[in-house]
């Protein structure tokens, strides 16, 4: 059969020149996405396209601070993406808490919960800095060192332990069921009327 490892340079070239972003803008850095996508700092020349479905996307931009509420949704979306997938963290909040270093609602060190490949410093980084970060990401993919997804799969117990410590055990079912008593009671009221 064909040995696909011979085609690694071509496949890495294709992977680095057509990254699709999950259209999930967390935090305050979502405002830096439109300048990148429109005519001034056009990122479509590199093949990057925003894509609303997580099943088809490979790049996840974590732009800015992450609250525990958002982190639950980010983890669920990240696990829905097929391998290989990359994470790009913007700003100083995912690194050490940034401006919210003493806030009860901002995650201080994101690398404990989700593997990050490239981190871009700034508060918010300007579009030129984000382009620099994207270039570094493309270099990492080309040399085969962008292995956040491999780290997640191999060290899943470490990540899961940190997530469970933060959220409590069984957080997925609890989050999915949280609103049901409130919605069900409302429905009972409507039916009785």
């Amino acid at each position: 059969m064909v040995d696909w490892r011979l085609y690694e340079p071509l496949i890495n070239f294709a992977r680095k020149r057509s990254m699709w972003i999950v259209a999930f803008c967390t935090g305050c850095g979502g405002i830096e996405m439109p300048p990148l996508a429109t005519s001034r700092y056009d990122f479509e020349r590199f093949g990057i396209m925003p894509n609303p479905a997580p099943r088809m996307a490979d790049l996840f931009l974590i732009t800015g601070y992450v609250t525990p509420k958002t982190l639950k949704r980010i983890i669920i979306t990240y696990e829905m993406q097929p391998d290989p997938k990359y994470v790009l963290a913007h700003g100083s909040c995912p690194l050490n808490g940034g401006v919210y270093w003493d806030g009860y609602n901002a995650i201080k060190h994101l690398d404990k919960y989700l593997p990050i490949d490239v981190a871009i410093a700034g508060c918010m980084p300007r579009p030129e800095a984000v382009m620099d970060g994207i270039q570094k990401m493309m270099e990492l993919i080309e040399t085969g060192k962008a292995d956040g997804w491999k780290r997640y799969k191999e060290n899943y117990e470490y990540y899961k332990k940190n997530q469970d410590e933060l959220f409590g055990e069984g957080w997925r079912e609890k989050t999915a069921r949280r609103w049901i008593p409130w919605l069900m009671d409302k429905k009972k009221e409507v039916r009785e009327e």
Partner: protein, 175 residues
């Protein structure tokens, strides 16, 4: 500029509500202080004198007086005047109860949920106080609130286990 319009508004309202004290702070801003049990009457009166919207219910924690001050912020489109309506209620969790105003201003339901979650003020008559709002379940169970006697920094250190820019023995720090 004269503050005639605001003074007219204050005078009109104080004629109908003798238990209140009111004054004009500056142009377009007036302030009333009322006792806590008359809040519903007063807000009904405001609604009839053309204060159409409630903008926010803010809670202030006066720990040395032992009271929580609730500020109802009202805006009137016809007079173009922003009114503060301030009441004080005792601070202990069992005694911090105030009747709800959600039938006079329906939007007050959301703001009362806000004040309840962060300051533990109970609004009687609003049955949706426990609906999920801003705090997650694990924070609610740990009793996170914005009152001044809740030690927020040690809670953050317990939750995230990193608070590397805080040194315990410094009074004021430059980051």
């Amino acid at each position: 500029m004269t503050l005639e319009k605001e003074e007219n508004v204050v005078r009109q309202i104080l004629e109908k509500a003798p238990y209140a004290e009111g004054k004009v702070r500056r142009a377009r801003r007036i302030e009333f202080h009322i006792p806590a049990e008359r809040i519903r009457e007063f807000l009904t009166l405001l609604k009839e004198s053309n204060f159409e919207t409630m903008m926010q219910i803010t809670a202030v924690d006066w720990i040395k007086d032992g009271e929580i001050e609730l500020v109802y912020q009202m805006w009137s489109y016809t007079h173009a005047v922003h009114a503060f309506v301030k009441t004080r209620i005792p601070r202990e969790v069992e005694k911090a109860k105030v009747p709800s105003v959600k039938d006079i201003y329906p939007v007050a339901e959301t703001y009362e949920r806000d004040a309840h979650e962060f300051y533990k003020v109970y609004f009687e008559g609003n049955e949706k106080l426990e609906m999920p709002w801003i705090l997650e379940d694990e924070d609610r169970e740990a009793g996170v609130c914005h009152r001044k006697d809740f030690d927020m920094l040690s809670y953050v250190k317990r939750k995230y286990k990193i608070l590397d820019r805080f040194e315990e023995d410094k009074e004021d720090y430059v980051i």
